[in-house]
């Protein structure tokens, strides 16, 4: 294999630790990923040597901080093939990015009763609730795509669901529970026919596969730093510049203004218009370092590694008696996020027993209760992989599941 997973792992200090007397087997990267030394170093270096506030200081530290912050923006723009760094808005996380779209694009669209927003049953709560709130505020109607039995978006009623009344479609690029990677080309084409905007929740895709916003042809994407080797507290909204330029602000305050009098305010151009207040500076710089790290390895190579791991995991888990996998059963069109049920055992109990042997998985509804409901379960166990995941770790998971069956058998 050309992808040297051992060398990658050596960059992640946390992977050396033990949990409950066993080597850590971290299978929860869809929840939050681990950070390499390079990211931790970049943040430490910033805080130790260059800390100052951005976009407002004439002094050297402030200038250095501003330069580093804007360099991070440029790196992220290049990473997703954005037209210009000004299309990158730094936010707290994907949730804030999606709320920003719902709020500001919602206002720009002047939604009213009779208008429709379309989402899907596969969404994380962060791509459901902001749209419910928007519909409550405006009287617009929320509609959604269903999920097929094999865990794909059900596009059978696309032409009816996305129609002349549709103003915006917001769907997930890669499901955080089923692992499905959605080919959104049909949705985008239909949205264009009826003049609707398209937003894509890329929280799970940007960290794991090459994403080209111009290639996708969408209007907005949202993603978060901590799922792609970066720190918490930093996320990204990408939007087409001409749309951002037309959108009203989300939060008001410092940095987002052009001029302020006691009577009225005019707003700065994007992205500053949407970055009120002092941003998470060290975190943005950390995310820039994470993007450098991912780019040096190559997103295509990372994706291929995860495809190999996923194929191995699908095979290994299907050999464990009593395990039922949700979502696509083959690696095609799916990423390295694998949710499953263990017959007769509640996911919390599965997770607890796995933790006792150092295997860290996520259990629960994964902030996607409608997806769980679609498959008739209140909760799932989810193992999710990343560039540092090994086949040995999948074997450890399988051994853990044998242990689960022993305790509950």
């Amino acid at each position: 294999m050309t992808f040297d997973v051992a060398r990658v792992r050596a960059d992640f200090p946390i992977l050396e630790r033990e949990v409950n007397g066993h080597p850590l087997v971290y299978l929860d990267s869809a929840n939050t990923s681990q950070k390499p030394r390079q990211v931790l170093e970049a943040m430490r270096e910033h805080n130790e040597r260059h800390n100052g506030n951005v976009s407002r200081s004439v002094h050297t530290l402030g200038t250095e901080a501003t330069t580093a912050y804007e360099e991070a923006r440029a790196k992220i723009a290049a990473f997703i093939n954005a037209g210009t760094p000004d299309e990158i808005v730094f936010v707290k996380n994907s949730t804030e990015a999606l709320n920003l779209i719902a709020h500001s694009a919602g206002q720009m669209l002047a939604l009213k009763p009779g208008d429709e927003i379309v989402i899907s049953e596969m969404e994380h709560h962060s791509n459901i609730v902001p749209w419910q709130l928007l519909c409550e505020r405006t009287g617009a109607t929320l509609r959604w795509f269903g999920i097929t039995d094999d865990g794909r978006l059900d596009l059978a009623h696309l032409a009816e669901l996305v129609n002349e009344r549709t103003k915006l479609v917001s769907v997930v690029h890669m499901s955080n529970t089923l692992g499905t990677i959605n080919d959104v080309s049909q949705i985008v084409a239909r949205a264009r026919e009826v003049g609707a905007l398209v937003a894509l929740d890329c929280s799970q895709s940007v960290p794991h596969l090459p994403v080209d916003v111009r290639g996708l042809g969408v209007d907005f994407i949202a993603f978060t730093g901590h799922k792609m080797l970066g720190p918490t507290g930093i996320g990204v909204l990408w939007g087409r510049f001409e749309l951002l330029a037309k959108m009203p602000p989300f939060l008001g305050g410092g940095s987002m203004i052009e001029t302020v009098t006691m009577a009225r305010t005019t707003y700065a151009a994007p992205p500053a218009r949407f970055e009120a207040g002092t941003p998470p500076i060290a975190e943005a710089i950390g995310l820039g370092a994470a993007v450098d790290y991912l780019s040096a390895l190559g997103m295509e190579a990372i994706h291929q590694h995860e495809q190999d791991i996923t194929a191995y995991a699908l095979k290994t888990l299907s050999d464990v008696p009593g395990v039922r996998i949700f979502g696509p059963a083959t690696p095609e069109g799916r990423g390295g996020t694998l949710s499953f049920a263990v017959d007769g055992v509640h996911p919390h109990d599965v997770g607890q027993i796995l933790d006792a042997i150092g295997v860290e998985v996520r259990v629960g509804h994964h902030c996607a209760k409608p997806t769980c409901a679609r498959f008739g379960v209140p909760a799932m166990t989810r193992a999710s992989f990343y560039l540092y995941t090994t086949t040995d770790e999948i074997d450890a998971l399988a051994r853990g599941l044998d242990q689960v069956r022993k305790v509950f058998g």
Partner: protein, 151 residues
């Protein structure tokens, strides 16, 4: 191993063979509680004289076994008898593993002593007990002071 403290044989027995499970009529008070972080759910019904306590739910072994133990311990007792048991169980669960349970009072519920060492699971064990307290209140019966449930 730490896990043995959590998954006591008694707990697994109650999980696999629950006592008094299933919602029954008649009843005087009903409460439905959900653990918002994990989605575990329970519905508890009580007769005001506690001649029956019935329940149904979806959840992990800890929450479901806890409901079964609650049924076994409390059904047929008076409010005055129930209050100290309820209080002792809540105290045990919030004791971070430092409280020595009294088997005279708690019966099979002493098996939950180990759960108190797993902060993430304390809410699972308390879920049926909080729902029970609410259901009793709706039946017009007070079974003791409302404890503060910490995450």
């Amino acid at each position: 191993m730490m896990l043995d403290a959590l998954y006591q044989e008694i707990i697994l027995d109650h999980y696999k063979h629950p006592h008094g499970r299933g919602l029954r009529d008649p009843f005087d008070g009903e409460a439905h509680h959900v653990n918002p972080t994990c989605g575990d759910e329970i519905t508890v019904r009580v007769a005001s004289d506690f001649s029956d306590i019935s329940y149904d739910g979806l959840g992990c072994s800890i929450s479901q076994a806890s409901a079964s133990v609650l049924h076994e311990l409390l059904v047929g007792h008076s409010a005055a008898e129930i209050a100290p048991i309820h209080e002792a169980f809540v105290e045990l669960m919030q004791g971070r593993g430092q409280v020595e349970p009294d088997e005279e009072v708690l019966g099979d519920a002493v098996a939950f002593a180990g759960v108190a060492k797993f902060p993430a699971r304390v809410k699972c064990a308390l879920l049926p007990w909080m729902a029970f307290k609410d259901a009793a209140a709706r039946a017009g019966v007070d079974v003791g002071v409302s404890p503060e449930v910490k995450a």
